[in-house]
């Protein structure tokens, strides 16, 4: 898997998005972490070409262009979908460590 250098955090609800981005910046100081409103997700993907996207609803563009993504609590459901290096899996009750493990 190619090393992740840019992370785009674009999940819904501002304080949740800001918190996850802040934790990622602290935990992964060598990476660049960007935040975007979900409405701007596709535009930011094309601008930044992130290695990892965290969002509430994955788009066809993300599926096609981003090697690693996490669809976090879509429609406020408890399960989330991970795509890591092309391999997809679903996880219930995601922990913060699950998010960090994708990069680590």
């Amino acid at each position: 898997m190619e090393a992740i250098r840019h992370i785009l955090v674009a999940n819904e609800l501002v304080s949740y998005r800001e918190s996850i981005a802040a934790v990622l910046r602290t935990s992964l100081p060598n990476l660049e972490v960007f935040e975007a409103d979900p409405a701007d997700l596709n535009r930011e993907v094309l601008r930044l070409w992130p290695g990892l996207v965290i969002c509430s609803r994955v788009t066809p563009l993300v599926e096609e262009k981003v090697p690693n993504w996490i669809e976090l609590y879509p429609e406020c459901e408890p399960s989330s979908t991970f795509c890591v290096g092309g391999e997809r899996y679903t996880k219930e009750q995601v922990d913060l460590s699950d998010l960090l493990s994708v990069v680590n």
Binding site: V14, Y16, S19, I20, T26, C76, D95, L96
Partner: protein
């Protein structure tokens, strides 16, 4: 499951309530879902290391508050115990809506889209008032 962090020694001569004998403001996070709760707790611990930040599952909120009321509670659905025993609380995105409510010592504030900075401000005001 309550996970206390930090704390301090208990002084038997201290007349403060048991939950404040450490002298540190106690913040209890019981919002859902879990990774968001853990992320906010991690940020609070990083940016406000002087606070005692605890996390609890939402279903354990009422018992945690009854056992040892925190100074500040942040939850997805405020409970009777929180209303009665906690001086400062934030109902964060109830029903997964963007709206949130903060209650600070009798004063209620509604947020259309609360931000991390708003939550930190609530903590700072609570620490200032404690």
């Amino acid at each position: 499951m309550l996970r206390p962090v930090g704390g301090g020694s208990t002084n038997l001569a201290d007349e403060r309530p048991p939950h404040r004998r450490s002298g540190r403001l106690r913040v209890l996070l019981a919002n859902e879902p879990r990774s968001y709760r853990e992320s906010i707790a991690a940020v609070f611990r990083q940016l406000r290391p002087e606070l005692d930040v605890e996390v609890a599952e939402p279903e354990d909120l009422e018992s945690s508050v009854s056992r040892s009321p925190p100074d500040v509670a942040i939850c997805s659905r405020v409970t009777g115990g929180v209303r009665d025993l906690v001086p400062v609380w934030v109902e964060l995105y109830p029903g997964h809506s963007a709206r949130s409510v903060a209650f600070e010592r009798g004063e209620r504030t509604e947020y259309a889209e609360i931000q991390l900075g708003d939550l930190l401000s609530v903590l700072d005001r609570a620490a200032g008032a404690a």
